[in-house]
């Protein structure tokens, strides 16, 4: 009963502190939003860029429509090219240049007189390009026309060296558009920066629950209320366990709030295994609390304990790659010795719908870490105790 009374007292005490509530709930959400929005280029894969069709001025410098290049026209009318280029027949070079200057066209192609005949006679296929103001438009149109010319010159070379029959055979088998748009990340799911930082910040703030442990254990010592409680018919372990249950419960509520609010406010998808996600969070809470208890039991002042826990929390979050994914290096290898590493890896995998067999190793490691720290707390408590 005393344990229950102390736990309820601890909960009331913690929920009365506005600063603590802000730090526990608002700060992680703000960080998830800021980091997710500002570092989206650093983490995860972006949406594949969409190529907008480029308006191309086509100037046939031959004498009227009869001189217009059939080859060029055929190329521009293939469906794949139509998706990326919008050809506009322009009467003169001057009109094309004027359109480029005003932005009416993004690119211009000058087809020399007798282009088709020249190619058919075995001459080299050459077009004149005038670049526009837009770099992407220049790149897209340039690539398409380069491919077109390369294809023509390749066929010329084949015809000259192997004879026209070879050209016919190669035409039958080859696809001649020269342009095929691929799709990025067609093979599986990916995660966003918001998801990455939601997982990272959740774990960091669960580690920070260690500071609540420090405040709870040292608070009663420093304001002498522990002395009074010790003079009452309450066993020392009841005080200790009651406090830990109170802090643990607050951490669980914090964890649920971060998950649900980040989902609701920023659309963070936490994966398809909510039960397992909560189990990982629970193990993280146990591990961080027990780690903090160990620090507190062997620290003389709350300031020393709080500093040590802050350094451990930020250090472990950074080394585990929680601030930004780290390249392969010794730092990354050291990350495997942090609590965050195992939990974060598992949460990201859950977000990517990984199979259970990929999550179980992380679960066992987290269970092992929690059990070892829990055991260390029991041994240390028996040795040092918690009293005024």
């Amino acid at each position: 009963m005393n344990t229950w009374i102390i736990m309820m007292h601890e909960l009331r005490r913690l929920f009365r502190s506005r600063t603590m509530l802000l730090n526990m709930l608002l700060l992680p959400l703000v960080l998830i939003f800021l980091l997710g929005a500002s570092l989206s280029g650093v983490v995860g894969a972006k949406e594949a860029a969409k190529i907008e069709p480029v308006r191309v001025a086509v100037v046939n410098t031959g004498d009227g429509g009869a001189e217009a290049s059939v080859m060029t026209k055929a190329f521009l009318e293939t469906p794949e090219v139509k998706d990326i280029l919008i050809p506009v027949e322009t009467g003169s070079r001057e009109a094309a240049e004027s359109g480029l200057r005003t932005g009416k066209y993004a690119y211009a192609v000058i087809v020399p007189p007798g282009f088709d005949q020249g190619v058919q006679r075995g001459g080299q296929a050459e077009l004149e390009f005038i670049l526009g103001k837009d770099h992407t438009g220049n790149l897209v149109a340039g690539t398409a026309f380069d491919n077109f010319l390369r294809e023509l010159n390749y066929k010329q070379a084949v015809a000259v060296t192997l004879g026209p029959q070879a050209l016919t055979a190669s035409s039958a088998s080859a696809k001649n558009t020269g342009v095929v748009l691929g799709e990025l990340n067609n093979g599986g799911k990916t995660y966003t920066a918001a998801q990455f930082y939601a997982a990272s910040m959740l774990l960091m703030f669960l580690l920070y629950s260690g500071l609540t442990v420090t405040g709870s254990l040292f608070g009663d010592r420093e304001n002498r209320t522990l002395l009074r409680i010790n003079s009452m018919p309450v066993k020392d372990w009841q005080v200790f366990v009651g406090k830990m249950l109170g802090v643990g419960l607050v951490s669980i509520l914090q964890c649920l709030a971060i998950i649900l609010l980040s989902d609701w406010l920023f659309g963070v998808y936490w994966g398809n295994r909510p039960g397992l996600l909560l189990l990982f969070c629970l193990l993280m809470i146990i591990a961080s609390m027990t780690l903090s208890v160990l620090v507190c039991l062997f620290s003389r002042t709350s300031a020393t304990a709080a500093n040590m826990i802050s350094v451990l929390t930020v250090g472990m979050t950074f080394i585990s790659g929680g601030m930004a994914p780290l390249p392969d290096s010794w730092v990354n290898s050291v990350g495997a010795f942090t609590l965050n590493h195992w939990a974060q890896q598992a949460i990201i995998r859950m977000m990517l719908h990984s199979g259970l067999e990929q999550l179980l190793p992380n679960l066992w490691v987290m269970c092992l870490i929690s059990a070892v720290l829990f055991g260390a707390v029991i041994v240390s408590y028996r040795k040092v105790g918690y009293h005024a």
């Binding site: 009374i5 005490r13 304001n223 409680i229 009452m232």
Partner: protein
Amino acid sequence: MALAVLSDVVKRYDGKLIVDHVNFNIQEGEIFGLLGPNGAGKSTTISMICGLLKADNGEIIIDGVSVREKPLEVKKRIGLVPQELALYENMSAADNVSFFGKLYGLRGKLLKERTREALAFTGLSDRARDKPSTFSGGMKRRLNIACAIMHRPRLIIMDEPTVGIDPQSRNHILESVKLLNQMGSAVIYTSHYMEEVAAICDRVAIMDQGHIIACGTESELRERVAHEEKIIVKAANITPALVKELEQHPRVSRVEAVQDAIALYLPSSQSALQDILFIFAKHEGVIASLNIEEPDLETLFLSLTGRTLRD
């Protein structure tokens, strides 16, 4: 009948003897004063009575129960008012009392009733909903007491409860101690203020360097120094030569000079008064007032240890 019995109690810290074979009894309904300078061992003795510290040797029995064997049973019978404030600053006065009441096993209606009673007893009823952070030092001290008495303990231990407070709150606390005693609780009252202990305690034990150097009623203790009187002379122009000549007088046992006053201890003031006045005149010391005081606990402490309580 003895409510508390301390037999041969010893406590050491790092090999140093802090409480040295202490023996005393506290009777039911008694206010027992524990007087001594800072570092005398009073708080350590109290901590052992409350079960906060384990005695290295000896036995402490409270209401027939051994502290060593059944500490929780003893703690139910005791209310400790710690020397330093032990309150939750961010909780209301009523919540503070109520929380500690729950830990004493009070529940429901009884808890509410006792919380109200304790706050009324300490004159804090109208501030029950306010937080201690808004209280004056004296009010905090009173709340500190309220948190220790709501379970109506058989023995209330007050460890220097009047340190650093205004005279009005001090009087309120001293009156409260008497009232609690009249309501049936025995009280152990520790202080280094001799006047407080003399005013409210039935019996007094004087402690110094871990020992009980004297124990009894105030009159019994005064008897021990009845042979010594104290003359306080307030004067201008007190010179070292004047003090030296007073010290050398055969009937003066001790001289204390403090700024514009000199305290003289001697077996009989009448026999040496003329000589003393002569010495002052000789050294051109201008006497403003002269008082002959009855021996008190301070005198006793001085005669037993050669030091004052506030040293």
